[in-house]
Structure formats: C-alpha cells, structure tokens
C-alpha cells in the first residue's frame, strides 16, 4: 500500500465478507427447504431465502469490487484517491441500502413491498437477481455513479496504466449494463432480452474484464513480471471475451420467441466462451513461471492461481456442457444450470474477490503478508471451500441428470414433484457439501483474527529446522 | 553470425501477382456449372492462395517446422471439412 486513501477499501472488504457469510446462511436454509418444504414456513418462504441468497451474492461481490477499485486505482495511478470521504460515505449508504433490502424481504411481504415502493409507477421488481424495490435500484445507480466519479477523477489526474483503463472502463460497463433493470415490459420475450443483457452481459462480458484486471494487478505485484507482458495478455483476453461473449448471449434466446437464427449464433459463439478462461489459465501460470520473486503471501498466490482454474471449470466446462442448443433443449432451467451457476460464480467472481482481499488486506493492515499461521488457516479455508463447492456442483449435476432422464428426455415424463423426489439424495449431498462450505468459510474468516505478520527470520529458521 | 532476416523482396511480389491471378481464376470458376472437378479445383486454388499468404506474407516459411505444420494442418482441416461436406451433400 502506497497511499493513505487506499485504506477506504477496508470497510468494503470487511462488509463484503460479512455479507458473504449471510449469503451462505441463506443458501443453507434454502437447501434445507429443498429437503423439508415446510422448514421455516411461513416465516421464511423458499423464494425469500432464495432471493436473499442471490441478492447478497451480487451485493457482496459488488462491494468487494468497489473495494478493489479503491485499492487498485490510486496505486496504479500513483496518486491519492480523488475523494476518500466520498468513498466512505458511499460505503455506508451502500451497506445500509443492502441491509434494508434484505430486511424488507424478510419482514415485508413482497407484494406489499412492491406496492409501497412505487412498483406500479415503474415496474422493475420480480426478476431474478433484480428483485430490489425501485428506490434501491435507483440507489444502486447512485452508488455506482459515486464510485465511477471517484475513480475516474483519480484516473484522470494520475498515471494511465492499461490495468486501470480496463478496470475503470469495465466498471463503467457494469453500471451501464445495469440500466435495463429499469426496462421491464409486459412482453415476456422483450423482458427476457433486457434481463439477459444484464445477467449475461455482466458475467460473460463485463465482469470477465474486471476479473482480468484484478488478476493482472495481483500477478504484476506478486510475481514482479514486466507490466507490458501482463498488459498484452489482458488485451487478448478482453478481445476474446467480447468476440465470443457479445453474440454468445444468443444461448439464452433459444426457443424463447426470439428469431430462430439465434439457435445458430448462440450455439456457435457461446461455444467459444471458454476460450478467454483458457487464456486466463495460460496467462496466470505463465506469470507464475516467469516470476522474479517469491512473494511471502502464499495464500494470495493460491487464490490467484485457483481462480482461473475454477473459473474455467465452472464457466468453461460446466457452461459448455449446457450451452449448445440441443443441450439446452433438454437441460434448460434444470439443476445443471444451478450447478453451472454455483461453480462459475464461485470459481470466477467470488474467488477473484477473495484473491484481491487476500492480497490487499495484509497490506492495508500494515504488513506485507500475514503470519504463516494465519496463512495456513486461510489456505485450509481455500481448500475446504473449493472442494465443497465442487461437491455442491456435482450434487446439483446429479439432480439435473435425474430431471433430464426422468422428465425432459423420457418417453413417459414424470411430474415435477415426482422428479424432485427421485433427486432427493442429490439434494442431501448438496446440503452436506454446503455445510462443509460453511465450515470452510468460517475457517477462512478465522485467519483474519490471527495476529502477527510474516517474519522472514522466523520462517527461515523453521524451514531450516524442518 | 546471424543475419537479420528480411523477407526476400521477389517472392513476395511474385506471390502477390499469383494471388491476384488465382483470385481471378476463382471468380471465373464461380460462374461455371457445378461439379466435383470444379469443386476440387476451387478448393485447390483456395489452399494455394492460403499457403502463399501464410508462407510469404506472414513469413512462416522462415519459421520452425512446428509452426508450418500447425498452419498446414489448420488449412488441411478446414479444406478437408469443406470437401467432406461437399462430397456427402
């Protein structure tokens, strides 16, 4: 850390981790409700648990990326943040709005919430991930504008590196792509267009650029490899992301009432979407091999290398499995999709957030790296979370397979509830894996409470003795 | 001593003329009645043109065998798929 103002990242990172914990708790509840439909009913119905889970996911990821931007942009621009105070105020507004949203889900019936927040005047509520009431959506835009103003002004007055340009540019993209949230026409085809511009536009376009920028920053810092090399790779990854991802949106337009040519365009172009993830792997490991120093923050390196691998698994492999039109014909909306969503969201976007937090937090707390003991906790948390997320994905894949075999591709299709019953064992497995994930998260969080910093002398002595 | 390697002037210009000529042939063939011989000719011309670009313009004729094989394999696969779908149509 070189600039005082980078410290505003701390509340963002802490807040993100707290919301992450909340997300997982709601995930566990929703998972239990799969096994016992009346669990916590009527106090907390499944749909509320589900949308609290997914909204918290989005909010904590956004919070982590904002923290990352406040940390990275000044360092790259080599100047103090334009307005640290604005960043802090924005944090509290964002956190309050996020908490209010979840509380209103929990304590106000959704239809009533819609009525009292003006949804009749401008309907926006009800679509997945975008369930927030209108005032909250407006608030999200304002928070984003505040962030964009702050980092853009910082960028303008400082050094313009490629990492900063890609990062700030993709943050602008993130905000612009949110605007279709205010477009919710009656026509379901058009409504789903608008919805996918956001969801697909984010995860298979814009956020991949954020991911690339964050990973690039971490790898430059940790390996000491020349900036030019990293930047060249980033530009290629950006280009491949856009070439495949923009038209690849067609994989959501099959059989929806959209023109039939999307079956071809979506199939062909989305089939290339794994390429940028493969490039990310090649890039990260090339940087690792070309490293000029051994950074003492082993945990951050583990996250940074785990991210592209898990992202490829979740987005590249599980995404590819369901993306071709003939596959979607059978798999659409089954638990194959949920398996892919979990593995991809965790592997790409949660993990890169945890990677930047892992790299930045020790620096923000005034040390180059955490003590070896703290890092051991963190890395144990890494492995438990990664492995149990693979477990969740495999369990959901099993459940998806049951649906495809007994319902979608069956001569004599079973009803939805009959199929759910047949898949019960997989829902149990999902819940167990989810519990393991929760434990992994606690282990990970524990690492923040282990005092002390990395001591070269001590580690050396230990290594020699061993 | 290793000399700085310039792409020799002549082959490059010759290749350019060849490309113009071959393109004209392709255009000429495009109006002919369809047939397998025509198809073979058209694809053959395409592969020759592609080879000229790869070898002389891109300069891959001066690179390691590996890269030349990679490119040749690429063209073979693409040409092969086109030929295959024509034959099985």
């Amino acid at each position: 850390m070189k600039f005082q103002s980078q410290k505003v990242a701390i509340p963002y990172f802490v807040g993100a981790l707290a919301l992450f914990l909340g997300q997982i708790v709601f995930g566990l509840i929703a998972g239990l409700q799969y096994l016992n439909g009346s669990f916590l009913f009527p106090e907390l119905p499944f749909d509320i648990a589900h949308m609290s889970h997914t909204n918290l996911l989005i909010v904590w990821l956004l919070m982590a990326y904002m923290g990352a931007a406040y940390f990275i942009v000044p360092e790259e621009a080599q100047t103090e943040l334009y307005s640290p105070r604005l960043a802090l105020v924005t944090f509290w507004i964002f956190l309050t709005a996020g908490a209010l949203t979840i509380l209103s889900y929990l304590f106000v019936p959704y239809a009533h919430l819609a009525a009292i927040t003006g949804n009749a005047a401008l309907p926006t509520m009800g679509r997945g991930y975008l369930e927030q009431p209108l005032p909250i959506k407006v608030g999200i835009v304002l928070v984003a504008l505040s962030l964009l103003f702050n980092v853009t002004m910082t960028l303008i007055k400082g050094r313009k590196t490629s990492i900063n340009l890609i990062l700030v540019g993709s943050l602008w993209g993130l905000a612009l792509l949110f605007l279709p949230a205010f477009y919710f026409p009656q026509d379901t085809v058009k409504a789903s267009f608008g919805w996918w511009w956001i969801v697909h536009g984010w995860v298979e376009g814009d956020w991949e650029l954020i991911l690339g920028a964050l990973l690039g920053f971490i790898l430059i810092k940790m390996t000491g490899v020349d900036r030019e090399i990293v930047e060249k790779w980033l530009y290629i990854i950006v280009a491949m992301t856009l070439i495949s991802g923009i038209i690849g949106i067609g994989h959501h337009y099959y059989y929806t009432g959209a023109p039939a040519y999307w079956i071809w365009l979506g199939t062909i172009f989305s089939a290339f979407e794994p390429i940028p993830f493969i490039l990310l792997i090649a890039f990260s490991f090339k940087m690792l091999l070309a490293r000029r120093r051994e950074h003492p923050n082993k945990a951050a390196m583990l996250w940074a290398l785990g991210t592209p691998l898990m992202a490829f698994l979740g987005a590249g492999l599980w995404g590819f499995m369901i993306t071709l039109a003939p596959a979607q014909y059978y798999m659409h909306g089954t638990n194959f999709t949920a398996a892919h969503g979990h593995l991809a969201f965790f592997g790409a976007y949660a993990m890169v957030a945890l990677a930047i937090i892992s790299y930045a937090m020790p620096l923000l707390r005034g040390r180059i790296a955490n003590s070896a003991a703290a890092q051991r906790w963190e890395m144990t948390g890494f492995w438990i979370m990664v492995l149990s997320m693979i477990g969740i994905a495999l369990a959901l894949t099993g459940a998806g397979l049951v649906t495809v075999l007994l319902q979608r591709a069956a001569d004599d299709p079973m009803s939805f509830m009959q199929v759910q019953d047949k898949a019960r064992v997989f829902f149990w497995l999902r819940e167990f894996a989810g519990l393991a994930f929760f434990i992994g998260l606690l282990v990970y969080l524990r690492s923040f409470f282990i005092a002390g910093e990395y001591g070269y002398a001590g580690e050396m002595k230990q290594a020699l003795a061993a | 001593m290793k000399l700085p390697q310039a792409i020799p002037l002549k082959p490059c210009t010759v290749s350019w003329f060849a490309l113009l000529g071959l393109t004209t042939i392709t255009y000429e063939l495009s109006a002919r009645a369809p047939g397998q011989a025509l198809m073979a000719l058209v694809l053959g011309v395409m592969l020759v043109k592609a080879h000229l670009i790869v070898s002389d313009f891109m300069g891959l004729r001066h690179t390691r065998l590996l890269w030349r094989i990679v490119m040749a394999a690429y063209l073979a696969v693409v040409g092969g798929i086109i030929a295959f779908t024509c034959l099985t149509a």
């Binding site: 060249k232 | 310039a6 490059c12 670009i53």
Partner: protein
C-alpha cells in the same frame, strides 16, 4: 570456421508471441464458423445454391483483390522497417489502411444492396450465415485497421527501426490473418456451389 551460413535458419514466429495466441484462437473460431456453414450447406444444398446464386460475386472478387493487395502492402511495410526505412514503412501501412477502407466501403455497399432487397438474418439459413460471417469478418477488418493505424502512427513517429521491428510484425501478422480467413470465406460463401 564457418564459411557458409544458411540464411534460411528457422526463426520464431514473427512479432510478439502473444498476438499468435490470439491469431490461433481467432483461426479456431473462424474454422468452427466455416465448418458450421459447410455442414448446414450440405443439409440444405438446393436452398444454399439457389440463395448463393443471388449474391453479386463481383463484390467478393473485388474485395479479395483489395484485401490481398493490402496484405501485400503490409508485407512490404515489414520489409521496409527491417531495412531501417521507417517512413517508407509508414507509407506502405497508410496504403494498406486506405485499401482496408475500400474493403469496408465495398462491403457496406453490398450490405446496403442486400438490405434494399429485404434480406435479413431471418430470410433463410444461407443468408443467416452469409450475413453473420461477413459481418463478423467486417468487424475483424475494423479491428485490424485499428491495429495498423497504431503501428503506422508509431512508424511515422520513428518508434521502430531495423533492429526493433517486432511491433510492425505483430500488427502485420494480425492483418495477414484477416486476409487469410477472407480467402477461405470468399471461396466458401461466394464460390463453392
């Protein structure tokens, strides 16, 4: 003592290796598009041939000549910079850029004509492929021109030299790739019938 040195010793790929990773990825993408076209065509032979016959092949022919020539100019630009002649390199690149502009203009005129005939992605499978393949390639020409423009600017600014020509080769390699896929595209979409 070495008296005879073969000038033809093998070299690494011209330009920056990173651009080659990109080029190979792009080639794979185009190959899949070509394969999809070829298989779709074999499944709907009559319709493809009938629709293809309505294309104005003169456009494709002219554009191939234009693009091949611009590629030649770029090859000459690479030779110039290796000979240390930066301004001449810039001139060749400027010429190539001009031809790229001609290609875009011709292609737009052709699209304009299609549009006037009421042709769209939904007309039939052939036009779906024809329009999306050529538009996808069109965007690559635009991107290639952006790269060439940067290289040309740097060449005129004296940022390259006989010993430092990798930047020119990098841009040139991409442009040749754009030319290469057009050769295949032209043959496949305009000619093979």
């Amino acid at each position: 003592m070495a008296t005879e040195i073969s000038v033809d010793y093998p070299q690494a790929l011209p330009g920056d290796f990173a651009i080659w990773i990109f080029i190979f990825a792009e080639l794979v993408v185009f190959a899949a598009l070509f394969a999809a076209y070829a298989f779709a065509r074999s499944a709907h032979l009559e319709m493809f041939d009938a629709a293809q016959a309505t294309l104005d092949r003169a456009y494709g022919y002219a554009n191939t000549l234009v693009l091949v020539t611009s590629s030649y100019f770029v090859a000459r630009a690479t030779q110039s910079i290796k000979a240390g002649r930066a301004t001449r390199c810039g001139h060749w690149l400027a010429g190539a850029l001009g031809l790229g502009g001609v290609f875009l203009a011709l292609k737009l005129a052709e699209f304009q004509q299609d549009l006037a005939h009421g042709i769209s992605l939904s007309t039939n499978l052939f036009y779906m492929f024809y329009l999306s393949l050529t538009f996808f390639h069109f965007m690559h020409v635009v991107m290639g021109m952006a790269i060439l423009a940067v290289v040309a600017y740097k060449a005129y600014a004296g940022r390259y030299g006989a010993a430092d020509h990798a930047g020119v080769e990098t841009g040139a390699s991409y442009w040749h790739m754009v030319d290469l896929v057009w050769i295949i595209l032209f043959t496949l979409v305009y000619v093979v019938h």
